[in-house]
Symmetry: C2
Subunit: 235 residues, 2 copies
Amino acid sequence: MSFKAERQRLSAFFQFGQSVDCVVFGYDGSELQILVIERGAEPFFGYEALPGDLVRMDEDIDEAATRILHDLTGLNNVFLDQLKTFGSVQRHPLGRVVTTAFYSLINQTKYNPRPASWAVKARWKSLGELHEMAFDHREILQTALDALQRQVRQHPIGFELLPEEFTLAQLQGLYEAVLNTQFDKANFRKKILSMEVLKALDKTQKAVRHRPARLYKFDPQRYHSLAKQGFLFEV
Amino acid sequence: MSFKAERQRLSAFFQFGQSVDCVVFGYDGSELQILVIERGAEPFFGYEALPGDLVRMDEDIDEAATRILHDLTGLNNVFLDQLKTFGSVQRHPLGRVVTTAFYSLINQTKYNPRPASWAVKARWKSLGELHEMAFDHREILQTALDALQRQVRQHPIGFELLPEEFTLAQLQGLYEAVLNTQFDKANFRKKILSMEVLKALDKTQKAVRHRPARLYKFDPQRYHSLAKQGFLFEV
């Protein structure tokens, strides 16, 4: 059978839509946040949603994720990692749409989301502020959150969420926000410093009321070697 | 706009095929192996391929993976984990097909693959024995192998590939096969035993020429706790 005839024979299978959805995490200094849009299109008009849309027939799904995140929120140069594909039969009211979810951790201060295309709003929200979400986006978000919680314990990725120079208190706050727990300050410091992933700077915080704390940044070499091999952040 | 009209407006997007491909790893006692089929259908007729096929419009992709693996190879009750979705525009000659790859580690002695449906052969092959593979299956396999190599160093999952009771030499052989390296015997034993993931049995190997070695199995509780939290297997 020719390819053309074979394609014809299988045409009933070629009726899927493919979409991408982006889970972008940020940290506002006290809470873990997620970039959400308000939908200005059906279905789920007016609902909060992850930035996502249908993939075009002529674009790779990885490229589509970058393009769609930019189209809806204005964000550029965001590194997106594939999370998981969600393919339940009934997940989309308009037809059979399989969605591939991507996720990213970004330093909020570097990006300024603005709604565009059919997104009415695009903004950061903490988990507690979220309303009912469109489609299965709550499930996708939860899957991303579970992955983030696993990963920050095994890889030094959490640091992506911080400014380049940060205090140990900021780092502890971030880990507490992501893992939704509280750490003992002395233990946390001892453990994180023993990993030798941080470089102490000859600088302290500016414009704070309390005694300014020392600033740190990563040791990039050590950071990359740990990020690759994995480490256990057991605090 | 009604949902129906909206679906109509977007119909150009609904022409994707969705497939699944399964990377099933086994261990024959000396080499890491992969379950492959020989294709008896176009495209790539006669090529070696991962067991995979198009998803039906009315099945979840996770269900499809289980169904298709069984259809082509006869394997039942195989736990499949999602690996990654591959969505390059040109990856399939018959049209735009996005494939979600799944992977699994199984104890070869418990499963007996047999070809069925349009698979002409279904059998275990070591990496070195593989011919040119259909589609982007070589890339999918490599991605699965990279994931396996990362995971066996961070989680005690490699054990899934062994019989329930095994010797330390078998375990070392498995880790050497997966990581494609050689370990010092004394160091390997010391490290693996220090993790306390193994239970020493009051049993030794049977029917071997050399002095029979002690058999071990997991401590399931310890195993699950480590599998969940992650551990670093640095040998």
